[in-house]
């Protein structure tokens, strides 16, 4: 009896345990597959892939990374897609070749991959560098024109120059943000000779830095022999992937991921990083939380603790629950009509009349987007808080009242502390919903490109009227609106992974907070 029970379904339960466990397993598998796909496609992009030098039977040659293979349209063989870069030389950075026509494939160590500010990547050889790293500071410009370094030495000095450029860019940014901008704003307040002199000195230094950065060029040659001069300033990153060891590649990968996280986008969002979008997403979600929490909690307290529990309250409760099901784009339209045009337009007329007709608050911005999302997530917070309040046993309330507490004291000292975990659950759900929402944001303030984050050192520090970037919209934009979708697709994957991680991080913060609050006193005893 016992043996047969072990082999078949448990007696009296039939296939149900298997069915339920199966659904859990399938859900987990799908989730895992999703994250794996995003991680592999997204993070794999930053790994320095080897460059292949391909020679075709007709004698032509190119250097590129194989991306994918597909059967030929007419059948009979495969064709392969290479990322060959060099958009300025060849027109298209992609090349399809029939696999059968490939004569030879080699991986020479001296092939360089340059990531450039303009024209995308370059694949080929580094022939020479003009304007080498020789002079004393201040004399750099002199003599550099003549110095021509070639071969391996050119590569070494290019690497050194790029590191130097990075330092120069940082110094430039520091000079601009920490010295020139504050000085300029202080000068705007009142004329002052010493300040003006200081500013002039700083600006002179700025010009000097810019001059230093602009000097220097490299001579590049593609594998089919075309040559061009490339200013060093326009090079973001230089690699020789075929010559790199695994630790080198790992370091380059880490640096690539870091740049993706820390830098702004380039080339119409098809390259570069997503830092403004991360910042915008997190800031908007935090603002949304700050706005939605008090309203939601107060509304829930009214519905559960103050209002007479009659038909009207029940109706309101049903209405609130149904609001959670309204499509988000409807909230977007509402936000555009009421917040942006209505309230924002009025604010402009009252306080910013001198800048009209160019709008200040009367256009989409961080504040309106946060408000719209707060409205969108309000029902979630109300419902979760109300459920938390309803779970608190009446004898807790009566215990407080019996000690001479007023209703307000009972609420603030006993009921609300006990309902805090439920409120945080509501906030977790709200954040999860808001951070992934894109459709309403397109109407009320998200921008394709807003490299300046809405927080800076200028009064009032947090610029609520500014447009901002958002990871969700960034995915949409890179994946569908770039000039070169194929090149931007890995970035879309990486951004999607990042969006998931950001939401996860925000949720984990709230979950940790809730756990902390719960563990202080243990769970509600069940009587």
């Amino acid at each position: 009896m016992a043996m047969s029970k072990q082999r078949g379904f448990p007696r009296g339960e039939g296939p149900w345990p298997w069915l339920t466990a199966g659904s859990v397993a399938i859900s987990l598998l799908m989730l895992g597959a999703l994250l794996l796909l995003l991680a592999v496609r997204g993070l794999g992009h930053f790994w320095p892939a080897p460059v292949t030098l391909v020679e075709l039977q007709d004698g032509s040659r190119f250097a590129g990374m194989a991306v994918k293979e597909a059967p030929l349209p007419g059948g009979g063989g495969e064709e392969r897609l290479y990322h060959t870069a060099n958009r300025d030389l060849e027109g298209s950075p992609w090349t399809w070749v029939e696999v059968a026509t490939i004569e030879a494939e080699r991986h020479p160590d001296d092939l360089v991959v340059l990531e450039r500010q303009r024209w995308g990547a370059f694949h080929g050889r580094l022939m020479a560098l003009r304007g080498g790293d020789d002079g004393v500071e201040g004399q750099r410009k002199v003599g550099r024109e003549d110095a021509l370094v070639e071969g391996e030495a050119a590569w070494q000095s290019l690497v050194a120059r790029l590191a130097e450029l990075e330092a120069l860019r940082n110094e430039l940014a520091r000079l601009r943000d920490d010295t020139i901008l504050p000085l300029a704003s202080r000068l705007a307040d009142g004329e002052n000779a010493t300040l003006a002199a200081e500013l002039a000195r700083a600006e002179a230094r700025l010009r000097e830095l810019q001059m230093t950065m602009e000097s220097g060029e490299v001579l590049l040659e593609s594998v089919d022999g075309t040559r061009l001069w490339q200013p060093i300033e326009g090079i973001v990153r230089a690699q020789r992937p075929n010559a790199m060891s695994v630790p080198d590649k790992l370091a380059a990968w880490g640096q690539g991921v870091w740049r993706f996280l820390a830098e702004g986008p380039r080339a119409a969002n098809s390259a570069g990083g997503v830092w403004p979008a991360i910042f915008g997403t997190v800031l908007m979600v935090l603002l949304m939380s700050v706005l939605v929490a008090p309203f939601g909690v107060l509304a829930a307290i009214y519905l559960n603790e103050v209002a007479h529990q009659g038909r009207m309250t029940r109706l309101v409760r049903i209405a609130v629950r149904n609001l959670a099901g309204v499509p988000s784009i409807v909230y977007g339209v509402f936000g555009l009509g009421v917040f942006v045009y209505g309230i924002g337009g009025s604010l402009d007329e009252w306080f910013f009349a001198d800048t009209l007709p160019s709008p200040t608050f009367g256009t989409g911005g961080l504040l309106w987007a946060s408000l719209t999302l707060a409205l969108l997530t309000l029902p979630v917070v109300i419902v979760a808080t109300e459920e938390g309040l309803a779970r608190i046993p009446d004898h807790q309330r009566e215990g407080a009242l019996a000690l001479g507490a007023t209703r307000l004291e009972m609420l603030t000292r006993v009921v609300l502390p006990m309902a805090t975990p439920a409120m945080l659950t509501g906030m977790i759900l709200a954040v999860a919903r808001a951070a992934g929402e894109v459709a309403p944001l397109m109407l009320v303030g998200v921008a394709k490109l807003a490299p300046q984050v809405p927080v800076d050192g200028n009064f009032p520090f947090l610029h609520l009227e500014r447009k901002f970037m958002h990871l969700g919209y960034h995915i949409y934009d890179t994946a569908f609106h770039g000039s070169d979708v194929q090149a931007a697709l890995p970035l879309a994957y990486a951004t999607a992974l990042l969006l998931v991680l950001v939401i996860l991080g925000l949720n984990l913060t709230a979950i940790f907070l809730r756990h902390h609050l719960r563990s202080r006193h243990g769970r509600l005893p069940r009587h």
Binding site: P393, E398, A405, R413, V414, R520, H521, P525
Partner: protein
Amino acid sequence: MSDLMPPAMAPSGTILAFKREASCLEIEGLCLAYGDKTALRDVTLRVPRHRVTAFIGPSGCGKSTLLRALNRLHDLNEDVVRQGRIRLEGSDIHGPEMDVAQLRRRVGMVFQAPNPFPMSIYDNVAFGLRLQGGLRKRQLDDAVEEALTAAALWEEVKDRLRASAWTLSGGQQQRLVIARTLAVGPEVLLLDEPASALDPISTLKIEELIRNLKASLTLVLVTHNMQQAARVSDYTAFLQQGELVEYGPTDSLFTNPRLARTENYITGRMA
């Protein structure tokens, strides 16, 4: 016990004493209804000062409702309709000069399920005192120790006053709730089936506490455990279907009930 006692003697003696008791609470013609459902019908009784008075009766007889009327806990429920008068030391508890928060500090209440707040033991006891405000840290410390001692809990918790009250056992939690109530210095303590959720040993401790407290307080106890009423109370009121059926000294009510309805209930022959 009843066998050894001359049938008429002892009860009549206690009845005389009962009539002479000074009253703390006087309930006069109290009628109470939840909407159109009547819960109490014309209840009139006096609760003697510094005695334990027990309300007994079957479930739904209105004994808890009567108890909760004594500190106006029904005020929260808008459906409750009340008639009649309740006096605490001579003054009407529904009178215009009676502050309800003040009343509830004078008439403390302990509930059926232990309901410590989700705070530390110390904060629980200090809760009522902090509501009143105006106490220094030292005074608060002393008041907390005094209340916990009075509730016979001090020795058990004095080393972990900062621990969560929810870490205590059920019986300890109930004594903590009593301490919390005692801390605000009530004149009357209402106990709504205080031991029904506890194990026998904790129950005995609570009962002993009740007997000790009557030196300084008037206690009103609701219970459906008749042995408990017999063990701890001086006077017992038997309620049925919202009416006060019989009220008198506990020994005479249990040994020599005047009415057949009372006798049927206490001997377990419920109609």
